[in-house]
């Protein structure tokens, strides 16, 4: 049996077992805050 046929499945793969999706960070927008303040003062 050739040595090359003994490639184990785990050697095929990314070391960490799959590529993850990015984290979703919560945002606090100052632009939105300023718009709301401005709308409030206009009203």
């Amino acid at each position: 049996e050739a040595k090359s046929s003994a490639v184990s499945s785990s050697q095929i793969l990314h070391a960490d077992g799959g590529e993850m999706e990015p984290e979703t960070m919560e945002t606090k927008s100052l632009t939105d805050y300023v718009s709301k303040m401005h709308a409030g003062s206009v009203m």
Binding site: S4, S5, V7, I12, H14, G17, E21, T24, E26
Partner: protein
């Protein structure tokens, strides 16, 4: 107090109000510029503006909370997790002090994500739970869904952090499997909400991570289903990075299903997209996977072709470990074809690199 004295007091108060007004405006202007810079991906410059805004100071605690939060996120994107932790913690303390529940939920979510990256899973779970509880209390469905997604990520990372080297997916210790099953449950709970909300982008992310979790659990058909969903949504959005990830993850799952031809087709799409995206490291990985897949198919000529492509990129990137792997694989493929001189050349190269990189198992394999 005489008239002169009271006039002086009014003037001092006017001046003080004017200075405070200017400081507030200046702080806000600096912070808005920081926000703009972070939006275009220049986090380093964004941090400078936010830090300057803090130096000027503000009495508006909502503005201060937003600055802390965005600074934390900027440091997170810069991979400076200690700093990210510091600012998300400041934000949490502040929002709790002023009784801003929505703000506290968001700060908890960000803190949880940061603690997860730092491997502090138990603390991350507490933050995710707080995020989930507050979101539930205030009827914020989007917040609830995001907390569930973060929960899934924490348990997924916890499962992977436990030592499982050498084991194949689906064959990990019970502690790992339990964490992965929990991750899958949270992702499913998230999916129920984001589907009801019609949020396709969120569905895409969750399907991607659920696919990886099912894969590690050894449920390869389920993994394929999830990654197919992820792929569909990535195409809807024209998100080529997500598309590339999905193809690569699908290739991995098909390997374990023993469908090597199908796996090769998916890796080829990964390779195409990696080239379009000009991501050399991913291009190298795709070549390596293709080389190994053609080895499994016993098509050694093609395997050599892809391993050589991998070797060239690894050399360009000065990736000695990748180079070592390519040499090892090339040695094997040449052995299979009976090219003993070539096989010896690559085996010696592999041994040399293993010694240099301190890869003991690689060195032992090379000596065999």
């Amino acid at each position: 107090m005489d008239a002169k004295g009271s006039m002086l007091n009014v003037r001092t108060e006017d001046q003080s109000f004017h200075i405070r007004y200017r400081m507030e405006a200046s702080c806000l202007e600096l912070a808005l510029e920081g926000e703009r810079l972070c939006k275009v991906g220049d986090y380093r410059a964004g941090v400078s503006f936010f830090e300057a805004a803090i130096q000027v100071g503000t009495e508006d605690l909502q503005v201060l909370s937003a600055i802390y939060s965005q600074l934390g996120n900027a440091y997170f994107h810069l991979h400076d997790y200690a700093k990210a932790l510091e600012f998300h913690h400041h934000d949490l303390t502040l929002t709790r002090t002023i009784g801003d529940l929505m703000g506290e939920a968001k700060a908890s979510g960000n803190l949880g994500n940061t603690l997860k990256v730092l491997g502090r899973f138990d603390e991350a779970v507490v933050c995710c739970q707080r995020h989930l509880d507050i979101s539930g209390d205030i009827g914020d469905k989007v917040g609830q869904a995001r907390a569930l997604y973060n929960f899934g990520n924490v348990y997924h990372a916890k499962g992977k952090s436990i030592c499982w080297s050498g084991a194949e997916p689906g064959d990990f210790p019970e502690e790992v499997m339990a964490a992965l099953r929990q991750a899958a449950e949270y992702y499913e709970a998230n999916l129920a909400i984001v589907k009801a909300l019609g949020d396709r982008a969120a569905q895409g992310r969750t399907y991607g991570n659920l696919g990886n979790t099912q894969y590690l659990l050894g449920n390869f058909r389920n993994a394929v289903f999830s990654h197919e969903q992820r792929l569909l949504i990535a195409k809807e959005f024209g998100d080529r990075s997500a598309e590339r990830r999905a193809y690569c993850n699908l290739g991995n799952a098909y390997i374990f299903l023993g469908e090597f031809e199908v796996a090769a087709e998916h890796y080829k799409r990964t390779l195409q997209l990696a080239r379009q995206l000009k991501d050399r490291a991913v291009e190298a990985q795709a070549c390596y996977s293709l080389g190994n897949t053609y080895t499994l198919l016993q098509d050694y000529e093609r395997a050599i072709d892809y391993h050589l492509k991998h070797l060239i990129i690894a050399q360009d990137l000065n990736d000695r470990i990748g180079e070592g792997r390519a040499c090892w694989s090339l040695g094997n493929a040449h052995t299979a074809l009976g090219n003993h001189d070539q096989a010896m050349h690559f085996a010696e190269k592999h041994l040399e690199i293993s010694k240099e990189t301190g890869d003991r198992s690689g060195e032992l394999t090379a000596r065999m």
